[in-house]
């Protein structure tokens, strides 16, 4: 399995990293645009313009991350800001051994979990607040509601594995790292989530072929 540069094999979506080709772009000072990790180290060294480049790269993916997980657009925007601020504050701890986006989504997940805990606590004692759906910019409201309804029926971890793969385009290894799961668990959960989503979206479920001899073949 190719684990050297998983992001290179992923298919970028419309809201995925806009300038993360690592070589072609040029920053405001005329220097060759660096990788995310180099930008993060430059920011930790005091170059605030490096963070601006990172922000521009990841503001849409991160906003999409929260927007798909939280129905309220205002809260999604707020959590996006909170995640960037957390990145700012944790910059001195950043180790270049970890991919920046793994670092970013790990923090985003923590922010999301903290928000969910607080929201659940508030709802426990003060009741649930009605959340209105705003029509999406590029997809209509029906698709938005349909997808939210479908993923709400998935197991929580299966849902996260699926979303991280489909929209954040994380590799299996990165998903395993972010969610602290074994790699095989990520594979099996992702397959299970896709199968369930296929059923939920109305298409016939992919039939799972018998794979009893597979282990012997690979062995």
């Amino acid at each position: 399995m190719d684990q050297t540069n998983p992001a290179a094999n992923s298919i970028p979506s419309e809201d995925s990293i806009p300038m993360n080709d690592g070589t072609s772009a040029v920053d405001g000072q005329g220097e060759a645009l660096q990788s995310d990790e180099q930008l993060m180290l430059a920011f930790a060294a005091g170059r605030t313009d490096a963070f601006t480049v990172l922000f521009e790269r990841y503001k849409q993916p991160l906003f999409g991350f929260f927007r798909r997980r939280i129905a309220d657009p205002a809260q999604a925007e707020e959590l996006t800001q909170e995640t960037f601020i957390a990145i700012l504050r944790s910059a001195p701890r950043y180790q270049p051994s970890a991919l920046f986006r793994t670092f970013l989504y790990a923090i985003a997940l923590r922010v999301l979990r903290a928000h969910r805990r607080k929201a659940a606590f508030r709802a426990t004692f003060f009741g649930e607040q009605p959340v209105g759906h705003e029509p999406a910019g590029n997809s209509d409201l029906v698709v938005d509601l349909l997808m939210r309804e479908a993923i709400a029926r998935l197991d929580r971890i299966d849902r996260e594995v699926l979303l991280l793969r489909e929209f954040e385009k994380l590799s299996y290894t990165e998903i395993a790292e972010v969610l602290a799961l074994p790699l095989n668990t990520v594979r099996s959960r992702l397959f299970r989530a896709r199968s369930a989503l296929h059923d939920l979206l109305g298409a016939p479920a992919p039939s799972k072929p018998s794979s009893a001899p597979a282990a012997e073949v690979r062995a």
Partner: protein, 442 residues
């Protein structure tokens, strides 16, 4: 039932589509998918699901998103991020932090409770032992004013000028003006003279006039003196009493081991010698506390004299009846019984009068002598190993006492805690279930 076996797993087919397989493995799986219609269909379905899912797009990020972040970027610029990092405690596992803090707080609470119980039991035992020591020294509590620095003299309130209460400051010598003493000396006629006055007045004037003739004051004084040598002080005390014509009504000496020696005495001296006796006693050592007071007993004495006079007259009349008249034997016996009763009352009142006049004639000095503390030079000091052993034993004892305190605290608290748990269990469970449900939903 038809069962088809495949050399690759469906997850491998999915991984191939996701580009997660290495070159050789990808080639093998791709070859199988190309040959196997079922796996090919699976790959197509997975791709269709992903394509359908990809239709779920989100609007563009708000334009003002960077505005609030920009201020933090400016703050964090130039390597100042470390100052901001302290506010991101939630990134380090809030639940663990809360759990750890709760555990630490619980342990501290238990230790504090144990120590509190331990020291409470120690202080209560020390207090009870102190009370035992104090109680054992109270040989004559009715006549003692020892330790009355904060306790008023339990006598009827004397005239203000006749009560002196002086608590010596630390290290100062007491010099109390003997104003009350001079008054007492001047206002104290001899007991015999008063007695004769009272007897003379019984036939001429009523009792209230006797009471207003001259004030009768019972003087009392209390001294607490710290002496260097208690034995020498006792010898000096005897000589002072002899010189001032007084006597010791009571004397108690306490010589506890490893504690300060002390003596408690109740002295009686003629009221005319009181000021001189106190002056002599002050030379014994450092005066820590001095109280002087006077109780006016004029009215009490006058009442006693009047009642005595009436009883004597009654006795005389009864005797006259017995001598001059005759009657039945029962009447005679009744008169004799009455005479005996009156005679008993007279003797009782005469005794009371004697005591009262003695209190006026002889002042009472409650004296407490305490030996000055001297550090003992121990001939054989404990060796280092012995000190270590003693410290270890003491530490073990304290640890055991603390554990016992914790146990006692738990024993005390557990029933109450169980009651509260029983009360809060149902609503707590309902809230927890609701929280879990909402957590899964949000």
């Amino acid at each position: 039932m038809i069962t088809t076996t495949h050399p690759v797993s469906p997850e491998d087919v999915m991984a191939l589509a996701d580009g997660e397989l290495s070159g050789a493995e990808a080639a093998a799986v791709a070859a199988h998918v190309a040959e196997c219609a079922e796996c090919s269909s699976l790959a197509a379905q997975l791709a269709a699901t992903s394509a359908a899912f990809a239709k779920w797009t989100v609007p563009d990020a708000p334009a003002g998103l960077y505005a609030s972040v920009a201020t933090h970027v400016a703050d964090a610029g130039g390597g100042k991020q470390g100052s901001l990092f302290g506010r991101t405690a939630f990134l380090r596992g809030p639940r663990w932090s809360v759990a750890q803090m709760s555990a630490v707080a619980a342990v501290l609470l238990l230790v504090a409770a144990g120590l509190t119980m331990h020291y409470r039991s120690r202080s209560s035992s020390a207090l009870s032992s102190a009370q035992m020591i104090d109680g054992s020294s109270l040989i004559d509590p009715g006549n003692s004013t020892r330790g009355s620095a904060s306790r008023p003299v339990p006598a009827p309130p004397p005239p203000p000028s006749e009560s002196l209460h002086y608590k010596a400051p630390q290290g100062d010598q007491v010099a109390v003006p003997a104003q009350g003493l001079a008054m007492a000396t001047l206002a104290a006629p001899s007991a015999r003279a008063r007695k004769s006055d009272a007897l003379d007045a019984k036939s001429t004037s009523p009792a209230p006039q006797v009471a207003s003739a001259s004030p009768m004051i019972a003087r009392t004084a209390s001294l607490t003196i710290v002496v260097k040598d208690l034995t020498a002080a006792r010898s000096s005390l005897d000589s002072i009493l002899a010189r001032r014509h007084g006597y010791s009504a009571q004397l108690s000496v306490f010589t506890p081991e490893n504690l300060l020696q002390s003596a408690q005495a109740s002295l009686r001296v003629p009221v005319g010698e009181l000021a001189f006796a106190i002056g002599d006693l002050k030379t014994l050592g450092h005066v820590e506390n001095e109280i002087q007071s006077g109780e006016e007993v004029t009215q009490q004495h006058a009442d006693l004299v009047a009642r005595l006079q009436n009883s004597r007259e009654t006795e005389q009349r009864l005797r006259a009846i017995l001598e001059q008249r005759t009657g039945k034997i029962e009447d005679v016996l009744q008169v004799e019984e009455e005479i005996a009763r009156v005679r008993g009352e007279i003797e009782q009142m005469e005794a009371d009068q004697e005591v009262l006049e003695h209190r006026v004639d002889f002042a009472t000095i409650d004296l407490r002598l305490t030996e000055q503390y001297r550090e003992q030079l121990e001939p054989q000091s404990a060796t280092v190993s012995m000190q270590i052993r003693n410290a270890f034993v003491t530490g073990l004892r304290h640890a055991g006492a603390t554990l016992l305190g914790i146990l006692l605290f738990l024993e005390e608290a557990v029933p109450t805690v169980l009651i509260w748990l029983a009360i809060l269990a149902v609503p707590g469970f309902l809230f927890w279930r609701r929280y879990r449900r909402l957590s899964a939903k949000i």
